[in-house]
């Protein structure tokens, strides 16, 4: 098992980071939350150009993938920059359509996803009734047991704790496929989604930590930087510890998925619960150590703080993930 990134992978992560740094994502998130998707779609197009969505699409449908490890690198960057939109849902839908064994549907949808022309959402009803950003997606897929539908309506947006997450209930529509192949493909897609969400959480947590370290170095109280107080240091050290130990789980799970290991699902669940809890703890720490300014929505930090908890619970709550690790899920 090769556990270090190769030069190409490192370059990919670095260039994505540079690209997103140049996008002023905080402004993009704020417009997205206000229902103006223009700036977000511009970022989407640039991500597509960098190959992000092609990572989930096989070569025969004009992608480069599937490449789970590269996908986690991309999603960590997306989390670091708090990029809004149904990113996870789009790559998970790609995984689902690829595995469905229906070439017509795959040939119709996948090239458009790979090229960034199509933004899609995906709602497995077993995880809850809501689809993310269905109000702006080109297509909303709903998995209900062994039935796959293309939703007709999307219902009213139900604002989330993270205003950039726009949830709604997809309804009606036509049945695209039915049977055991749907259930199997949907299971695989859920794994891809959980893995991408874990990586995204990791990125969210890393930004929360980095911004907090910067803040406590500059903010002074009692005549010295608050970062010099032991209570503050210990809390940040614990935050780093949790994120650093989540990282290898995400990496290992990506390798297991790439190799088609039988235990990949449990590995992904372990990564998901660990990265999700670490990022949420990082959000609590970031808020606490920023003091009252951390409790305002004016500070961009809030964009990451409010993302951490929904991501911890999306595509597998901590309890569901632990059950999977222990093999007691149903």
């Amino acid at each position: 098992m090769r556990f270090l990134l190769d030069a190409e992978q490192r370059d990919f992560a670095r260039s994505l980071d540079a690209l997103l740094t140049s996008c002023d994502t905080p402004a993009v998130v704020r417009s997205w939350a206000a229902g103006d998707h223009g700036p977000g779609l511009a970022v989407w197009a640039r991500l597509a150009e960098a190959g992000v969505f092609a990572l989930a699409v096989p070569e025969k449908h004009e992608g480069f993938g599937p490449l789970p490890l590269e996908l986690t690198l991309a999603f960590e960057a997306l989390g670091r920059h708090a990029v809004p939109g149904p990113l996870v849902e789009t790559v998970a839908a790609a995984a689902l359509l690829d595995r469905l064994g229906n070439d017509r549907i795959a040939a119709d949808r996948l090239p458009r996803i790979a090229s960034g022309k199509s933004v899609v959402s995906l709602c497995p009803t077993s995880l809850g009734p809501y689809a993310l950003d269905a109000d702006m997606a080109d297509a909303v897929f709903v998995v209900d047991g062994d039935t796959l539908r293309l939703a007709a309506g999307t219902g009213t947006v139900q604002p989330s704790a993270d205003p950039a997450r726009r949830l709604s209930r997809p309804s009606g529509g036509t049945v695209l496929a039915q049977g055991p192949a749907v259930a199997a493909a949907a299971g695989y897609a859920a794994d891809v989604a959980a893995l991408a969400t874990a990586a995204q959480s990791l990125g969210v947590g890393r930004t929360l930590l980095a911004r907090t370290v910067e803040y406590v170095t500059q903010r002074t109280q009692f005549g010295m930087p608050i970062g010099s107080f032991q209570a503050v240091k210990h809390r940040l050290a614990d935050t780093l510890l949790a994120l650093e130990f989540a990282g290898p789980l995400v990496h290992g799970a990506a390798l297991a998925l790439a190799a088609g290991d039988e235990g990949a699902g449990a590995d992904i669940a372990a990564a998901k619960v660990t990265a999700g809890e670490a990022a949420y703890a990082a959000a609590r720490t970031a808020l606490q150590l920023h003091g009252a300014v951390g409790y305002t929505d004016e500070l961009d930090l809030s964009l990451w703080i409010r993302k951490a908890r929904p991501l911890r619970d999306a595509w597998g709550t901590p309890a569901a993930c632990r059950a999977r690790v222990m093999g007691t899920d149903r």
Binding site: P129, Q158, P159, S160, D162, I226, A231, G291, T296
Partner: protein
């Protein structure tokens, strides 16, 4: 400690319960952190006060019932159990009023307290400054002597609900040459619509607009609005912080009621096979019970023991209730599963205000003295550990 309520206690409880049953609004009021909600809550304060329920422990002459601390706790338990609205007057009632009882003049009490009890004048706390949070004594806003009073200038921030409140109380540096930062501070009150005051709202984490920063430019404060002696502001203020962290800011009723709602939520949504989540519900319920008993012990100490709980004990309260509040709300969100992330204003939001409660609980370890600072106080004053570098 004696936890048996006598007949008088029970009949007081029944009286409170009956009144609340007849008066608590059927539908929850809009959030008091919004302009609309603020106005609705002000009316609710007037309703409470009309039957002298807004400040039960105050003397009758100021609008109270002269009730004991024990009856006040009973009132609070019934209040939260009835799902009654949050208290928009809480800064005045919990922070300013105790200070006036302790350090104010008779004239100030007569002028200020009844209007506060009726919800006519709603008070904001103007202590923090951009550079002075935990290190409050480093504050820079000034009070300069002038004919018949003081001119105050500077910047205050994080003032809860100051965007909609009427008046504020705060600390100002009146003697820049004092030998220690804690000396030379003066505690005074001013109107938020006075000449020279600019109020700028700051959205909270949930976007609600009631927080504010205050810019003060030579605002005139007459001598009658100074609390205690000029230059003694720190000592006066410290009598308030004990209240803020301790018993009166967060009475157990609030957590007991939340624990009951959490239990109901668990019965409705809980998966009996999920013992981990069940255990967290149980821990939160036990925590609320512990906080209640700890508080009753404190009250017993005040009423029957040798004086009130030591000042630093309020730091134990502060840490305990703030962490308990987060545990209660996090557990509720976990029980709600996919509905837990919905904002309160979402049409399909589960009832119970868990979303706003959760976001507000996150601020508990920050305001009223951060929990890091409280742990230092406990270590130094209750455990006698050496003072750290500060």
């Amino acid at each position: 400690m004696d936890l048996d309520f006598d007949a008088a206690d029970e009949s007081f409880r029944t009286e409170v319960r009956d009144w609340l049953a007849a008066h608590v609004p059927a539908a929850p009021l809009p959030s008091l952190e919004t302009a609309e909600g603020f106005a609705a809550h002000r009316e609710w304060e007037a309703t409470l006060s009309a039957d002298r329920w807004s400040v039960v422990s105050w003397p009758e002459e100021f609008g109270g019932r002269g009730s004991s601390l024990l009856h006040w706790m009973i009132f609070e338990e019934e209040y939260y159990a009835a799902g009654a609205p949050g208290r928009v007057s809480q800064n005045g009632i919990n922070l300013l009023a105790p200070t006036l009882f302790e350090n104010g003049t008779a004239e100030q009490r007569a002028r200020i307290l009844p209007a506060m009890a009726r919800g006519e004048v709603i008070w904001a706390q103007a202590w923090s400054e951009p550079e002075s949070g935990s290190d409050l004594a480093s504050l820079k806003s000034t009070a300069v002597r002038t004919e018949g009073g003081w001119l105050i200038s500077g910047q205050k921030t994080w003032s809860s609900r100051a965007a909609f409140a009427d008046r504020a109380f705060g600390l100002f540096r009146s003697d820049p040459d004092a030998d220690r930062p804690h000396r030379g501070l003066t505690y005074l009150m001013f109107s938020l619509d006075a000449e020279g005051v600019t109020v700028r709202p700051i959205g909270r984490l949930d976007g609600k607009p009631a927080f504010a920063e205050l810019f003060l430019d030579e605002v005139f404060v007459p001598d009658e609005d100074v609390i205690g002696e000029p230059g003694q502001g720190w000592r006066v203020a410290m009598s308030t912080t004990g209240n803020e962290r301790g018993l009166t800011l967060r009475s157990p009723g609030r957590f007991t009621a939340a624990a009951d709602r959490l239990t109901a939520l668990w019965r409705e949504h809980g998966d009996p096979a999920d013992t981990a989540l069940r255990d967290r519900v149980a821990d939160a319920v036990i925590g609320a019970r512990a906080y209640r008993l700890f508080s009753y012990a404190g009250v017993s100490q005040v009423l029957h023991g040798d004086g009130g709980p030591a000042g630093a004990v309020s730091s134990l309260n502060k840490i305990y209730w703030s962490e308990l509040d987060i545990a209660l709300h996090e557990t509720a969100l976990d029980l709600l599963g996919p509905y837990g992330e919905l904002a309160d204003h979402a049409g399909e939001s589960p009832s119970g205000g868990w979303a706003e409660g959760y976001t507000f609980s996150l601020a508990g370890p920050v305001y009223a003295g951060t929990n890091e600072i409280q742990r230092d106080i406990i270590a130094e004053r209750l455990l006698g550990l050496p003072k750290g570098r500060r």
